[in-house]
């Protein structure tokens, strides 16, 4: 089963890279097909992880990273169908980064959900954050690429608008969950503080985006927001010296 998990991760990663490669070769249909196939791989990986963990597989960083492509493919479809944005290769690239991270993580197959995590809020809270962080990664990649092609900055803004409701849901559903589990909706835990900081940076972006006078602020804010995402998602969890009420996510 463990070999199967690694094989599926590698298979999905290769499909995501294939999707990016097809886009580089200017073959959009192949790019979409490869990413759709990656979704199937990610789904199989998710099922295998669930069987191994005997619980929703959000118990560690590898589980969460492996879940990225599963939500990125529907996001690519939504952006294409409803926003007129063809960003499949960018989302495939972000998924590939997450899968490379997943391959580098140790496989902790068995996972025992502690009592606080046995809540109906658990799956929607984590899923919303995974979608949001994945899309914010894409927004940051588009922002970097916009130094060469200006129009990509608007696309980054569109991706932020798609992502922000998920981030908002993740943040405040976490507070609602904490109210039930810890007896208070806000405890100024370090993860909470960084999540709020990240949310505030993207709010500033949405406030300045409307005014042409602040056009120069858009890139720095998007990159700063992504830096805050990285700290919230990775640094706070992976630094061993940090004491956090969210330490079960390490």
């Amino acid at each position: 089963m463990i070999t199967l998990v690694y094989t599926l991760t590698l298979f999905t990663l290769l499909l995501c890279l294939g999707s990016v490669f097809a886009a580089v070769l200017k073959r959009p249909a192949d790019c979409r097909r490869a990413f759709d196939a990656a979704w199937v791989g990610a789904l199989l990986l998710f099922v295998a992880d669930w069987v191994l963990a005997q619980a929703p597989p959000f118990g560690n960083m590898r589980h969460v990273l492996a879940f990225f492509p599963l939500v990125m493919v529907p996001a690519a479809y939504y952006l294409r169908r409803f926003r007129g944005l063809e960003l499949t290769a960018w989302l495939a690239g972000a998924s590939a980064i997450a899968l490379i991270g997943a391959l580098c993580m140790p496989l902790q197959a068995g996972w025992r959900q502690m009592p606080a995590l046995q809540s109906p809020w658990f799956v929607p809270h984590v899923t919303a954050y995974v979608i949001s962080y994945g899309l914010m990664t894409v927004a940051a990649m588009l922002t970097l690429a916009s130094f060469r092609r200006e129009s990509l900055l608007d696309a980054a803004g569109d991706v932020v608008r798609l992502s922000l409701p998920f981030m908002t849901f993740g943040l405040w559903s976490g507070a609602l969950w904490a109210d039930a589990a810890w007896g208070g909706y806000w405890a100024w835990d370090i993860k909470e503080a960084w999540s709020l900081l990240t949310w505030c940076i993207y709010l500033i972006y949405l406030h300045v985006e409307r005014y042409p006078a602040f056009a120069g602020w858009r890139r720095p804010l998007l990159l700063l927001g992504f830096a805050a995402v990285v700290v919230t998602f990775l640094v706070v969890n992976l630094l061993p010296r940090i004491e956090s009420m969210h330490s079960y996510a390490q």
Binding site: P115, T168, G183
Partner: protein, 343 residues
């Protein structure tokens, strides 16, 4: 500007290794919070210029829609639970089901009205601002008047909690009596047994002992499981073994899966005595009168179980939670509205 200042203050306290949560409870943060609340109220008011009546009605309809949704989930879950018990509980299940259906009607009627009234994205954007203000007002009320007390209560079905005492000596009369009748812990796996040896006061290597039936085996030695005893100051049952070097056999429980306490509250309703029984779990607190009790942890020592609770009375909780729900819904609708109509 206010958001930028909030970010700076958040960053000041949220640096991973040198975190200083005191920053968040300081005067600067409170002042900034007040400023954000005022700006949000003003921003929402200004955004809804010419449509303020629509906004106020729309938010009231939205509130009732969410109330309907909440009724559906809360009473629907109870209906399923009672139906699962069966027998005389079927009547209760039908009653709960009817209330859940009322929630559906609420949702449908007020959801439709809200959809018709909040017909411009700018109204939802104004809604986000007012929801943030509502959350801020609730948070301020809690910062000023919240009472939060950790409580340790033995699960002996005798000790009753009638008042709460804060660290500074203030006392709060609960207005009811609370007792814990039973406490149960579930484990993912069975207990393990480890033999520790000590030579000249220093610990030697630990050895795992195998359990077969009612006996514990290690090589040629064996001990009955029942010979392990509990003692004050020892967290787990143990057995001191005679001889040199000194050895002690310790039973360690498996990984905790879940724990729950049977809570009984003796209260009154319009002067008549009432008894409420509930199962208190980590994610399902127990509420009675103004107080909410959350299950934090437990302590088992020498055959005695103490349950660690957190009692909380938060006057701003309802406003804060309503604000959070408002932020989630209004942000989603505004962000996902067709882009050409957003400007």
């Amino acid at each position: 500007m206010a958001l930028g200042a909030a970010c700076v203050l958040l960053l000041a306290g949220a640096f991973p290794l040198l975190g200083a949560p005191e920053v968040y409870r300081g005067g600067a943060m409170m002042l900034l919070g007040a400023l954000v609340v005022l700006l949000c109220l003003w921003g929402g008011w200004r955004l809804a210029t010419g449509k303020r009546g629509q906004l106020i009605c729309g938010l009231i309809f939205l509130f009732f829609t969410v109330t309907g949704l909440s009724m559906l989930f809360q009473y629907g879950a109870k209906a399923v639970e009672y139906a699962g018990i069966g027998g005389p509980m079927w009547a209760g299940a039908v009653g709960m089901g009817c209330v859940a259906l009322t929630g559906v009607v609420f949702m449908a009627v007020f959801g439709f009205l809200c959809y018709r009234v909040m017909n411009a994205p700018v109204l939802w954007l104004a809604g986000v601002h007012w929801a943030v203000a509502l959350l801020g007002i609730g948070a301020f009320a809690d910062a000023a008047y919240e009472v939060r007390v950790p409580v340790t209560l033995p699960a002996d079905a005798r000790t009753e909690l009638t008042e709460l005492v804060l660290d500074d000596g203030r006392r709060f009369d609960l207005g009811f009596r609370l007792r814990i009748d039973d406490f149960r812990v579930q484990h993912y796996d069975d207990a393990t047994y480890t033999l520790y040896s000590f030579e000249k006061g220093r610990p030697g290597p630990a050895q795992q002992v195998e359990r077969r039936g009612d006996m514990l085996h290690l090589g040629s030695e064996s001990w009955p499981v029942s010979s392990l005893t509990s003692a004050p100051g020892m967290p787990h049952p143990f057995l001191m073994l005679p001889g040199n070097p000194a050895r002690v056999l310790v039973q360690k429980p498996g990984t905790v899966k879940d724990y729950c306490a049977q809570v009984v509250a003796f209260t009154d309703h319009r002067g008549r005595p009432e008894t409420h029984k509930a199962e208190l779990r980590v994610n399902s607190p127990f509420a009675c009168k103004d107080w909410r009790f959350s299950l934090s942890s437990y302590r088992q020592e020498a055959g005695r179980t103490e349950v660690l609770l957190q009692a909380r009375r938060a006057p701003g909780r309802f406003a804060a939670l309503t604000g959070m729900l408002g932020i989630i819904i209004c942000t989603a609708v505004w962000c996902w509205w067709r882009k050409e109509e957003q400007a």
